[in-house]
Symmetry: C2
Subunit: 709 residues, 2 copies
């Protein structure tokens, strides 16, 4: 019963600079998340990064195969070390002192179960760990003390007599000295990452996962999902209304009613609502509007692929539909052929793949069986990735068309999939936290807007979604439109237009994600590192009824997920819910008002108001930033072709920026068909340098705009 039973992990194989892999136990036949990545590790890019050695923690990692069929790994931590990550999490990004059970599931506050519970963490001591085996995993993050550890705190009496001094306060949760994780199985693969900063570690993780996703340009425009039972006619009328209200629009999402049957699904058009889908899709495409189709993975008896798919499906039904085993090539082919014929070939741009996550009662049970022999648990952890894989690779990449799609479940090593997660969670604070947490694990997150309790909240939520990886109004149930809150319509239009104007900046940030692994929308951790400890000691009040362990429970708060970075230079400080005022703890350096170029502060705490930004998104810009954006907004991304660019400069220092161009929709960029320019401000003059010239120009003239007087 002590640590002498733990064996040292002896062999860490170097995969690339700063990337190390090991296997403990017998790992034959197990599925790795990295097997399901959209692309191979970008080894060359990794090897151009500094060759940092493996961290002390990884070298000290140990493991044990337990008699009851568990695999335990232990990675020691140092005093003060903090653990961050585990995918899309809505409560926080700092996981020290928490136990997480990583399982793909409908969201849950705390505990780890979420749509994208990536088993990847980053330590404040400069390394990261991916548990690369596709199983449920439970991780104690510095929770628990081993009997034989030398780092255990001293015992303290909880109720000492008045005359007895104690070593310190009694702690309900004595800090542990390791990350300990286990799965049920015979073996486990781990991939360790070391780097020079949080951002560097995340980038290496993303590069190991094949790089970041590269959406088509249209994917970054504005999206709107129509109510579930809308017809072609109603959809066309709604697009016309967008035009009348001068609201930019690129993508229309059709909800379940487009199918002849759904829940379970046929994937075939409901002809009473869409009598001629091909004509309808073409008409929209001609106008620059893409269609995205809602699906879920469960197939109806009324689908023409049902009979062939049935023997290729699992033992249990979900919503009475069969559950295809997409580890089988025949099953993938069946779906892809049908989707190509019915959707892709008429111009459908992508999917919203719903309900591949949970809850338990909406999924196959953990004891379901599948014809390939893949376990229900592995299937649960990877189904979202399998669906992304088959649609991305076999439908879109194969046909040299980029997609930007949505999916309800993802997991490890998924950064190269152009699929964005969304949720039924609707807390504004949670949505903003999701933007930070997702960025630490190669996940794209859409804090979609659905409805609001009032005009103010509508504006604030529109800010958040327009400064996220995917700007979508999802009105499938609420039937809201951008103009539903009358007095907010101008603010909403201005916000969406601002996103459109910023597309050159955002698209370039995505290119950086794709090639260098730097997330386009990201946690402040990746900007500032751990920063100084802004911890507050929270003395909780003892309450015998609701919180009997509160006395002596010291909780340190060391993270601020209320801010995040949008691209390399813009800090977003959202007003949550219906607030119009907030405090912002600025990182070091000068920060400027995006709109006026005025200095707002430097490393201090400031108060900002919605009024000061004229109800536009509260954006702060870094000293010396150059921000390339459209001089004027456009109604469709197709209108960007040839549009003039202004590069806004903030502050007094010189700076640089990149500007990326390609055809916006094919995978030719992977073969070099892109253009990358850098701009540098030198003594008030903008100097252009062409790093790579491989594509026809996308933008027109480029001019400089000095924002700070």
């Amino acid at each position: 019963g002590d640590s002498r039973d733990l064996k040292l992990v002896e062999k860490w194989e170097k995969v690339a600079n700063g990337v190390f892999r090991t296997v403990v136990g017998n790992h034959d036949g197990e599925m790795h998340y990295s097997d399901l990545a959209a692309a191979s590790p970008k080894i060359e890019t990794l090897n151009r990064l500094p060759d940092v050695p493996i961290s002390k923690a990884l070298k000290s990692a140990s493991f044990r195969l337990l008699a009851d069929g568990k695999v335990l790994v232990r990675i020691p931590t140092e005093p003060g070390e903090k653990i961050y990550g585990y995918g899309l999490q809505f409560d926080n990004t700092m996981k020290s002192g928490q136990i997480v059970e990583l399982k793909v599931d409908h969201f849950k506050k705390g505990g780890g179960a979420t749509h994208a519970p990536v088993p990847f963490y980053i330590s404040s001591k400069g390394y990261g760990v991916l548990f690369n085996t596709a199983k449920y995993i439970k991780i104690h993050n510095q929770v628990g003390s081993r009997k034989d550890s030398k780092h255990n705190p001293e015992e303290v009496d909880r109720n000492p007599p008045a005359d007895e001094k104690q070593a310190g306060p009694w702690l309900a949760l004595p800090p542990g000295d390791a990350v300990e994780a286990f799965i049920h199985g015979k073996g486990l693969e781990m991939v360790g990452f070391t780097g020079t900063s949080f951002q560097d570690i995340v980038a290496r993780y993303n590069l190991f996962s094949g790089g970041g996703a590269m959406p088509p340009l249209w994917g970054l425009g504005f999206w709107h999902r129509t109510p579930a039972k809308y017809s072609a006619e109603q959809t066309a009328a709604e697009i016309a209304e967008f035009d009348q209200h001068r609201i930019p629009l690129d993508v229309i999402g059709l909800e379940p009613g487009w199918q002849s049957k759904s829940y379970p699904c046929t994937y075939e058009w409901q002809k009473k609502r869409f009598p001629d889908p091909g004509k309808f899709a073409k008409q929209l495409l001609d106008d620059g509007i893409r269609l995205n189709l809602w699906v879920n993975p469960y197939i109806s008896k009324h689908s023409r692929i049902y009979e062939k798919m049935k023997p290729l499906s699992g033992s249990h039904l979900v919503w009475l539909g069969i559950v295809p085993d997409y580890t089988l090539p025949e099953a993938r082919q069946l779906l892809v052929d049908q989707h190509k014929e019915d959707h892709f070939d008429i111009g459908i741009s992508g999917y919203k793949i719903d309900e591949c996550d949970g809850y338990d009662f909406w999924l196959w049970p953990d004891y379901a069986t599948f014809p390939s022999g893949t376990s229900a648990e592995v299937m649960r952890q990877t189904y979202g990735m399998q669906l992304q894989s088959l649609m991305h690779k076999e439908l879109f990449v194969k046909n040299n068309q980029r997609t930007y799609s949505q999916v309800r479940a993802s997991n490890g090593a998924a950064s190269s999939y152009p699929f964005v997660i969304y949720s039924d969670s609707y807390g504004h604070n949670q949505y903003v936290t999701g933007l930070s947490s997702a960025s630490l694990s190669g996940i794209l997150w859409c804090p979609e807007i659905r409805s609001a309790r009032n005009e103010r909240e509508w504006i604030n939520r529109m800010h958040t979604v327009c400064f996220s990886p995917l700007a979508q109004l999802n009105a499938w149930a609420s039937k809201t439109k951008p103009w539903s809150y009358k007095n907010a319509t101008d603010a909403v239009r201005n916000t969406i237009e601002l996103r459109m104007q910023l597309l050159p900046y955002l698209y370039t940030a995505f290119a950086n994600y794709n090639q260098q692994g730097i997330p386009p929308v990201r946690s402040m951790l990746l900007e500032t590192g751990e920063g100084k400890d802004q911890s507050k000691e929270q003395e909780r009040k003892l309450d015998g009824e609701t919180d009997p362990y509160a006395d002596g429970f010291h909780q340190k708060i060391t993270e601020d997920n209320s801010l995040y970075m949008f691209g390399p230079d813009i800090l977003v400080a959202p007003f949550l819910n219906n607030s119009t005022k907030r405090q912002v703890q600025l990182p070091a350096g000068n920060w400027y008002d995006f709109y006026t170029g005025k200095l707002l502060g430097n490393g201090n705490k400031i108060t900002i108001t919605a009024k000061q930004f004229n109800d536009l998104p509260p954006l702060l810009v870094k000293e010396g930033a150059l921000i390339p954006m459209l001089t004027k907004s456009v109604m469709r991304t197709k209108d960007i072709q040839g549009a003039a660019i202004e590069i806004r400069h903030y502050g007094k220092k010189d700076g640089t920026c990149q500007l990326y161009e390609d055809d916006g929709q094919s995978y030719d960029f992977e073969k070099g068909a892109y253009t990358l320019r850098t701009f540098a401000l030198e003594s008030g003059q903008l100097k252009q340098k062409i790093v790579k010239k491989g594509a026809k120009p996308l933008y027109g003239d480029v001019s400089l705009r000095q924002m700070t007087k």
Copy 2:
């Protein structure tokens, strides 16, 4: 991937009338809950019950050993069949349509994790199942549909065009046709029970578990737990205050501060607060007051048993204390010897064994190891039972002293332990639901009173706890006294006095629990059976933000846990929180006001008010009931010796009752040293019959009191 892979469970061994046992897979070396029961199955008593055959469902049960190390069992259900149980649950007792993960843990609303997550369910079709292997178990209760099942509902389109008729409403949760359960392991034991009613099935389960617990008489008096840091002097002063306020009292519970160190514990007296524990305990005992000691299982370095216990403990610490492996006889002996010397021998009556349940972050991890080789998971599921076992068997039974104690964790086959569960859950509604749910699985539950938001709630909560298995005010943190709410003091005193008066009735009900397995405080299910279906179809409103699956989600409500039975004849209809009025759906038969004997109704819905009961507990009595009670209340249970009994008769029909007597504190009753009388009312005359005469008389004269005019 279909049900042909399931194998029929072929061999059900008959254990006794209506009790059947089977093992699937390889079960060598696994721990059964029944191995940990306080007593052997009462086979003779079982065999005096009707010899009902095994149910069709059990005969149709099937299983599968899964490739990833799971054992699955499937027990089919019929349309309309309902599933109840799974131990102490605070949300409901009916579990059809729910998935439960049964794991000993701090309470959680829904999901199954609780202090006593007993893997035993009862079906409305007249049978019960105990999953008798001590592991985490996850159970789908009619949730999920197999592809090849013949009972699956028809597919329905969720968004049909207006002109398309559907087979029915779209269901978010199509009903399943089985209970399917799995554990990680190689085999699983199940015990099936069949009976003639819910009560009969529960009784057989309890008899299989060794019968129901038999507390000492003093255990049924009033308990008070003093604040955590109270000294002997303060405790004595508090007892004197009880006397001044004429509040009955039998047990004082000392909280952590009685120990020299706690969290982790020494189990040794804090001499600064209790300079002479032996003298103190004797002084209290002479006054008829018992002491109960708070402990938790984690041992401090400062305890004299620490050094010897250390090698007998697990790999991990809890609150920095070692975790003894009590599957080892040496470890048990160490603890028992110390407890006997320091506690038992000076007259300590029992323990409150805290924090043996969870949360995860307050327990050893699932990958901890123990010197006996027992897995952390098995240890977690059984630790509460192991502690009950060692204290009950090796300290109290061995020394022929009954205890009535408290414990924070229990599990299957535990009915014969005189330990009562308590919780930090403090919802009044949840507490009342707990009284029902606990009674379905051999668990005793104490909805202890701690504090209240106002006088009304204080009275209502006092009613609940005084009409429960253990009447305790737990003031360790709140420091409240029975008289803390001034205007409520009379109502509180009256309520406690009523409990004291009813002890002959309650003690007899416990004797019935002990000998026949009928729970003394119990769910209406055990009174009325499933009853007529009072289900309401709840159409939930679609809400795209918070409840997107609501449309077509039909929830049937078929249970009423707001009422419960206290002994065979008294129905308790508590006013929750600060309410003073409620509706009561009466079961069939005439029901009478306990205090006035007036007819209140018969099978109908009535409204009752606190006023109508003069702030006394809202008690209704069954037609023909005979209720033996003390003519006058007493301040201590010791004063019951020789006290006069009145047997109250309600309604117009003749009736019978039992009256049980023994020495109130030893186990001699097990060797026949008890007296059991029955009283029958025949034409207005009370006829006494002595069933068994083995003990000295406890009560004095018996008289009849006609309550109904």
